[in-house]
């Protein structure tokens, strides 16, 4: 595990920004971090990187304790903050030179290539760049840093669709190069498209963990029956969840192959049936629709 947290907590007085958060990130995967504003995603990342000291619990990155070995943690990490702000008096080239000079793992030639791929004009002064251009510049710095762990906090915010696609491609390339990526985002489609594993956070806690592979196997079946629902047959017990309404409408979910299930459904007196992939949105909504 490249990242491991155990009951990690950050409190401000009575308010817990991070409340007993425990999770594990395997090396070499793209790990999605989901949750609405205030769920604790950024606090978790800031505690891991040593900006904030945990109130209790522990966290390690690349085997180093995030509270006592922050320098070693950061030596193994490249971090894109949620709102990356760079030195306004410098131009893009000077910013890339600065970070390449600050840490040897930041490869200046790679940064130039990333900036080119994102269509960024590095000759422009940061103060005269749009928010999206500044985001691209920060991404060039972070993605050019050759470290085992890359942490991206909302990396595609403020970007145009072309740049978004390019960033997602760069994230996949980072993973192909053996790096681990923690990808925090509000854009569920991007997370579903890119990540291998996701956690959903709410009120500073991890409330759900989900493998994207399992998610892709998952289907939701909306059926409308003429008569009463006879219940889930024993052969599907534990593999199919069903919620029946009073009007003969029923919603079922399964992670299993659909073929045997469809055979059973064909025996029911159906008025209407609709089958759809569960999708990350549906999983997310289970935890946050009412929030």
């Amino acid at each position: 595990m490249i990242v491991r947290t155990t009951s990690l907590t950050k409190r401000y007085g009575d308010f817990a920004a991070l409340d007993g958060c425990s999770l594990e990130v395997s090396a070499g995967e793209i790990f999605g971090l989901l949750g609405p504003n205030g769920a604790g995603k950024t606090t978790l990342l800031r505690v891991l990187l040593g900006y904030l000291m945990p109130t209790s619990g522990s966290g390690t990155v690349a085997g180093f304790d995030c509270a006592s070995r922050s320098l070693d943690v950061r030596a193994n990490t490249a971090y894109l903050p949620g709102e990356a702000r760079l030195f306004r008096r410098m131009n893009g080239h000077a910013v890339l030179d600065f970070f390449a000079g600050l840490r040897p793992e930041c490869r200046r030639d790679v940064a130039t290539r990333v900036a080119d791929r994102l269509g960024l004009d590095c000759s422009r002064q940061v103060a005269r760049m749009s928010t999206g251009m500044r985001q691209k510049l920060a991404l060039a710095v972070v993605l050019a840093t050759e470290v085992p762990l890359v942490i991206l906090d909302e990396p595609t915010a403020n970007l145009d669709p072309t740049a978004r696609s390019e960033v997602l491609a760069l994230v996949r390339e980072a993973r192909a190069a053996g790096r681990t990526v923690i990808f925090s985002s509000h854009v569920l489609s991007e997370v579903e498209e890119t990540c291998g594993h996701v956690v959903i956070m709410r009120s500073g806690r991890v409330v759900h963990e989900q493998s994207i592979e399992a998610l892709r196997r998952g289907h939701r079946i909306h059926a409308h029956l003429r008569g009463a629902f006879p219940g889930v047959p024993a052969e599907f017990a534990g593999r199919l969840t069903a919620a029946a309404g009073d009007d003969g409408r029923i919603v079922m979910e399964t992670d299993e192959p659909l073929a045997p299930l469809l055979g059973w459904l064909a025996t029911l007196s159906l008025v209407e049936i609709r089958v759809e992939p569960v999708g990350l949105q549906a999983v997310y909504d289970r935890f946050h629709r009412s929030a």
Binding site: Y51, L52, A62, G63, A75, F98
Partner: protein, 291 residues
């Protein structure tokens, strides 16, 4: 990348110095440095040219016979010493142009150290790199102090040139003003250190500047109260300006150097202690996300 590679890199990152931060700080303070250098180049020439418009006998007449003797308390030295060529040149060092510029330098650069960068959000990307907070803080402090020394060198060079080639050429030895310029340097380090310490606690630059403006006014008033009130004379010792008396340092001889050692011992001592305290505070505090 092998994790052990980056761990090895991290192992060499214990320094409290960063060349990249050093270069960046010089870039950040470049405009202010050039502006103050220009001001302190022109000011002594302008000041002495204007002073020379009043002939020495007339000046002595006003100072020694018209102004009440009690007012000597404010000058810090007997009027008989002020009414000399060296004394009149020395008044340039207590002119608001010099005192305010030295204070503004300390407050401006000191407030940028932490709260300025937190407010702008640029500290976030900087500290994502494996660089010690102490290194960021102390490297900036060194660059600011070096620039202060440079400015005092400019001031001294300008005074030296006007004393050598100006309206009172040959009437006073230019080396007499070395201790006075060194006293200005002490004030700059003191104000810079105190401001950097406040900045290390704070998260908003405007508030840091406000606190320091209040400190400046308070400490100036404390000096005046201490000077003017017999019973409240001890209040003067609470003021850092009690150790800023360049007009007392132009007499030449060992006494001037002894006094300088005393004054700059206090000013540099407070400044360096404040920088060290600020570094400790900054290295231990939580850093909030940029607003």
């Amino acid at each position: 990348m092998d994790m052990s590679d980056t761990n090895a890199i991290a192992a060499g990152r214990g320094a409290i110095w960063s060349a990249a931060v050093w270069r960046k700080t010089w870039g950040d303070q470049r405009i202010l440095l050039l502006s103050f250098a220009a001001l302190w180049t022109v000011f002594p020439w302008l000041y002495l040219w204007l002073s020379a418009q009043i002939p020495m006998p007339a000046f002595q007449n006003v100072l020694l016979q018209v102004i009440p003797e009690d007012w000597q308390k404010l000058s810090g030295v007997p009027f008989s010493e002020v009414a000399t060529y060296a004394g009149r040149v020395a008044l340039a060092f207590v002119d608001p142009v010099v005192v305010l510029a030295a204070t503004v330098w300390g407050i401006t650069r000191g407030s940028d150290a932490v709260s300025g960068q937190l407010e702008r959000g640029t500290m976030e990307m900087l500290l994502a790199a494996p660089v010690r907070r102490t290194a960021v803080f102390l490297t900036q402090a060194l660059a600011t102090t070096a620039a202060a020394a440079l400015l005092c060198g400019v001031l001294l060079a300008s005074v030296w040139s006007v004393v050598t080639f100006g309206p009172w050429a040959g009437k006073v030895e230019p080396w007499r003003f070395i201790p006075a310029a060194a006293n200005v340097f002490g004030l700059m380090v003191c104000m810079g250190g105190i401001t950097a310490c406040v900045s290390a606690i704070d998260s908003y630059r405007w508030r840091t500047v406000g606190i320091m403006c209040g400190f400046y006014v308070t400490t100036l008033l404390a000096k005046l109260v201490g000077r003017l009130s017999g019973s409240l004379g001890w209040v003067g010792y609470l003021s850092v300006f009690n150790a800023y008396e360049p007009q007392r340092l132009v007499g030449g001889g060992p006494e001037a150097w002894r006094l300088l050692g005393q004054y700059d011992g206090i000013l540099l001592g407070i400044g360096v202690a404040a920088y060290i305290l600020g570094a400790v505070i900054f290295s231990r505090r939580d850093l909030p996300a940029p607003l």
